[in-house]
Amino acid sequence: MYFFLVAIAAFFSLLIAGLIVYYAVKYRRRAPDAVGTVVHGGIVLEIAWTVIPLLISMVIFVWGASVFFAMSRPPEETMNVYVVGKQWMWKFQHLDGEREINELHVPVGRAVKLIMTSEDVIHDVFVPAFRVKADVLPGRYTHIWFQPTKPGRYHLFCAEYCGTRHSGMIGEVVVMEPSDYQAWLSGGAPEGSLASAGEKLFADLACNTCHRPEAQSRGPVLQGLFGKTVTLQTGETVVADEAYIRESILNPSAKVTAGFQPIMPTFQGLVSEEQLLELIEYVKSLR
C-alpha cells in the first residue's frame, strides 16, 4: 500500500512539476510588454480534475480503511501480554508470571496481543518492523496485535511525547524460535502465573468475602463472567471486557449489576496498575 501511494504521489508530483517547468520554459516572456493568450476555463476539464482525484482518493480510502480494520481486530487465538507504560519505562507481564522491563520476548509465528495501559501520561507503543503503533492511555486499555515472522531483535519506541526522557523510553522486541522461547521462559524466575498472583490478591483484598462461586453471595458470581453480556440496573447492557472489570474494581458504582446493591467499595488507590492486571487476569481465568 505504501508503495502504491508513493507511486501515485510521484506520478502527480512529477506531472505537476513537469508541466510547470515545461510551461515556464515554453511560454517564457519573449517581449517585455507581451501578455498571455486568453484561454477560457473549460468546465469539462474542471470536472475531470475534480472527479479523478476524488476517485483515486476513494480507492486509497477503502484500502487504508480495510488495512486498519484488519489491524483493529485481533484473531481469535492470541498470546496475550500486558503492558504498563510509565515515565519512562515499559513493563511487560506475561500470563505465566514472567515480567520484563523494556524488553519483550515473544515466539515466532504466534499472534501476540498487547493489552496496554499507562500509570501516568499518554505513551505509545511503536514497533516499526511490525507496522504497529497505538497510544497507551492512563485509565484505559488499548490493544494492538502482531504476528512476528522472523526471529531477531526489533526496535520498540515510545511514540507519544511523554516528558523529559521520552526519547529514552525505548526497548526491544526479541523474537525467538518457539523452542528458544520455551527455554527463555523456564530460565526466568517463575513467580507463579499472573492469574495465580491475582488469586492471591483476590484473597488478600477480601474480594472473596463477597464474590463466591455460589449464587447467593453478596456480590455477583464472577465465574464465567469474562466476555459475557451483563445487564445493569439501569437496564443497559455491557460486555464484560477488561475495561469493564477494571471499572468495576476502581469505580464499582458507575455500572451496577442488575439485582445487586451498590455496596462494593472502591479500590481506587489501593491497587496499582499491575495488581489490577493480575486481578483482571484472575477474573478472566475463572471459567
Binding site: M1, Y2, I8, F12, S13, I16, A17, L19, I20, Y23, A24, Y27, R28, R29, A31, A34, V35, G36, T37, V38, V39, G41, L45, E46, W49, T50, S57, I60, F61, G64, A65, V67, F68, A70, S72, Q87, V121, I122, D124, F126, P128, R131, K133, D135, L137, P138, G139, R140, H155, F157, A159, E160, Y161, C162, G163, T164, R165, H166, S167, G168
Partner: protein, 534 residues
C-alpha cells in the same frame, strides 16, 4: 523617477505616529517587524534542534532542553509566525487596497489586535526566558496538566491572548469585505487573494474561540485542579485532543490558504493572463475552509478514538484534498500559453506549487488510516507539514513579499540576489526535509533527542540542508532592508499587473486612493498589446 511626494510612510514621523497609527498599512508594517522577529527566534530553535540531531547521541543539549526547544519552535512558528504572517502583514496591507476602500472597517480594532498579539507574544517570551515549556506545541494532556513542571500557564495564556488578535483580524476582514467594497466590486470581480483572505477569516472566527477555551481549560486545570482531562479524576485526555484539533486542523488551512491566494495573484500577474477557472479557484477556498472543519480526528487515529470515528475522519480528509487539487491544476493550466516572466515572485510561486503538491500528496498517505498507523508520530509527519508550511506557505509568503514590496516600500530590491536566494532556499529546503520522509518511513519517531545510530546519515543530510536554508532566509533580510534606502524607485505598477492596488501610487497615500475607484470588469484582464502576443 522620484517617489510620490505624499505617501503613508512620510505622513508623520516619530514613534508615536507609528505606535498609535490606525492606518492599516502602517499596522501591517508593525506586524511585519513582529512576525519577522518571532520567525528568527523560532528559526534559531530549529538551528539548535538540527545541530543536536546531527549525531545520534544526545550530546549537545540535555533531553530536557531539547524538549523545550521543539516546543518553543512549534509554538513560535505556528502561533506567532505562520498563522498571523500573511493575513496580518500582506492581508492588512492589501485588503483595503484591493477592494478600493480607505481602510479596514475597524481601524482601532486593527491596532488593538496588534497590541493584543504583542501582549500574547510577551507572555510567551516571558515563559521562554523564565524556563520554557516542554509539552510539545500540542499540549497533550495529562502530561501538560499534571506532569509537566514547566511554564505551561504563561504559554497557554500567551496563546489565549494571541487568539483574540486572530479573531479581531478575521472579524475585521469579514466585515470589510462584506461592507466596504468599492462601487462595482462585485464578489466575482474580487481578486483571488481576497477570496482566500475571506475564507481564512472564516476559520479565524469559527475556530479560534475553541482553542481559546481549550487552553484556558488547561490553565484552569493546572490552577484549580479541575480534572476535565485527567483520567485520575474521571476526565478523558482524548477529549482534549478533540478540542485542540477542532481548531488546530482548520488552523493549518489558515496557514496555507492565504499563501494560495498569493500564488493565484502572482501566477496571473507573471503569466499576464486570467486565472484559469477563476470561479473554481475562488470556491475551492471556501470549500477548503468549510470541509477543513470536518477532519480534525485524523490527528487522533491511534489516540484512542473509536474505529468508526477514525474511518469517518479519514474519508472526510480525502474530501478536503479535492479542492486543493482543483487549485493546483488550475494554476498549472493558467501557465499554459501564458506570457511567463521569470521574476523572483514567480520563482517562489512555482516553488510553492511544487512543494505544496508533495506536501499535500503525502498528506493523503496520512489520511489513509491503515498507513498512518505506521508513520504517525514519526519524521514522516515532520516532513509532511514542513513541506506544506515551509515549502508551501513560506515560499508563497516570500513570493508575495517580493511581489508587493515595491508597493509597500516604493522601491525595487536587487533582482539578482533575490533570484539567488530563492534558489538557495529551494535547494536547502529539499535537502532538509526530503530525507525526513525516508527517516519517518524507516521508523524514526519524532520529538526524539537521541536516536539509534542507523538513522544518522539521513539526519546529517537534513542538518546540512537546514544550514543552507538558514542562509537562504538571511539574504532577503539584507537586500530588502538595503533596498529601502538604495533601491531604485519602482513606480506605481512595476510588474504591469492588474488590480486596484496597482492603480494608486507606490507607496500609497494614507487614504489609499485620491478618488474612490469604480470597478467595471473582472480581475486579471490584460489588455492585448497590438500584435505582440507571445
Amino acid at each position: 523617477m522620484p517617489l510620490p511626494p505624499q505617501h503613508y510612510l512620510n505622513n508623520g514621523y516619530g514613534v508615536k505616529s507609528w505606535l498609535l497609527t490606525r492606518d492599516h498599512k502602517r499596522i501591517a508594517l508593525l506586524y511585519l517587524a513582529a512576525v519577522t522577529f518571532f520567525f528568527f527566534i523560532g528559526g534559531a530553535f530549529a538551528v539548535v534542534i538540527r545541530l543536536e540531531l546531527a549525531t545520534p547521541a544526545g550530546d549537545l543539549v540535555s533531553d530536557e532542553t531539547y524538549n523545550k526547544l521543539f516546543t518553543m519552535h512549534g509554538v513560535m512558528m505556528v502561533f506567532f509566525f505562520l498563522i498571523p504572517v500573511i493575513p496580518a502583514v500582506l492581508g492588512n496591507f492589501l485588503v483595503p487596497l484591493m477592494i478600493g476602500a480607505k481602510d479596514l472597517a475597524f481601524p482601532k480594532l486593527n491596532l488593538a489586535s496588534w497590541y493584543i498579539y504583542m501582549l500574547g507574544g510577551l507572555f510567551t517570551l516571558y515563559a521562554l526566558v523564565t524556563g520554557g515549556v516542554d509539552t510539545g506545541w500540542t499540549f497533550y494532556t495529562p502530561f501538560s496538566t499534571v506532569s509537566s513542571t514547566t511554564k505551561v500557564i504563561p504559554t497557554a495564556l500567551g496563546i489565549f491572548i494571541t487568539g483574540f488578535s486572530s479573531i479581531l483580524t478575521g472579524l475585521n476582514f469579514i466585515v470589510t469585505i462584506h461592507r466596504m467594497r468599492a462601487p462595482g466590486m462585485r464578489w466575482f470581480r474580487m481578486p483571488l487573494f481576497l477570496w482566500s483572505m475571506y475564507a481564512t477569516s472564516l476559520i479565524f472566527v469559527l475556530g479560534t474561540p475553541v482553542i481559546a477555551i481549550t487552553v484556558l481549560l488547561i490553565a484552569a486545570e493546572r490552577v484549580f485542579q479541575f480534572g476535565f482531562f485527567d483520567p485520575a479524576r474521571g476526565g478523558d485526555p482524548v477529549l482534549f485532543q478533540h478540542l485542540f484539533w477542532f481548531y488546530s486542523h482548520p488552523a493549518v488551512y489558515i496557514m496555507v490558504l492565504p499563501s494560495m491566494g498569493i500564488v493565484s495573484e502572482i501566477v496571473a500577474a507573471f503569466c499576464r493572463k486570467q486565472v484559469f477557472g477563476y470561479e473554481f479557484v475562488a470556491f475551492s477556498s471556501l470549500a477548503i475552509a468549510v470541509l477543513g472543519f470536518l477532519v480534525w480526528g485524523h490527528h487522533m487515529f491511534i489516540a484512542g478514538e473509536s474505529v468508526y470515528a477514525a474511518l469517518i475522519f479519514s474519508i472526510l480528509s480525502f474530501l478536503v484534498a479535492i479542492p486543493s487539487a482543483v487549485k493546483v491544476f488550475n494554476w498549472t493550466a493558467t501557465m499554459y500559453k501564458g506570457s511567463i516572466s521569470w521574476d523572483t515572485p514567480m520563482l517562489y510561486a512555482i516553488g510553492f506549487i511544487g512543494l505544496f503538491t508533495v506536501g499535500g500528496l503525502t498528506g493523503l498517505f496520512l489520511a489513509a488510516v491503515g498507513l498512518d498507523v505506521h508513520v504517525t508520530d514519526t519524521y514522516f509527519i515532520i516532513a509532511h507539514f514542513h513541506y506544506i508550511m515551509v515549502g508551501g506557505t513560506i515560499m508563497g509568503y516570500l513570493g508575495g513579499l517580493h511581489y508587493w514590496w515595491p508597493k509597500i516600500s516604493g522601491r525595487q530590491y536587487n533582482e539578482a540576489l533575490a533570484k539567488l536566494s530563492a534558489g538557495i532556499i529551494f535547494v536547502g529546503f529539499n535537502l532538509t526535509f526530503f530525507p525526513q520522509f525516508v527517516l519517518g518511513y524507516l521508523g524514526m519517531p519524532r520529538r526524539y533527542h537521541a536516536y539509534p545510530p542507523e538513522f544518522q546519515v539521513l539526519n546529517v543530510l537534513s542538518s546540512a540542508g537546514a544550514s543552507i536554508l538558514g542562509v537562504g532566509y538571511l539574504i532577503p533580510m539584507v537586500y530588502l532592508m538595503w533596498s529601502l534606502r538604495y533601491g531604485k524607485v519602482a513606480g506605481s505598477n512595476p510588474w504591469g499587473a492588474t488590480g486596484l492596488e496597482w492603480t494608486t501610487t507606490s507607496p500609497p497615500p494614507t487614504d489609499n486612493f485620491t478618488q474612490t475607484p469604480i470597478v467595471t470588469q473582472e480581475p486579471y484582464v490584460y489588455p492585448r498589446v497590438e500584435g505582440r502576443v507571445a
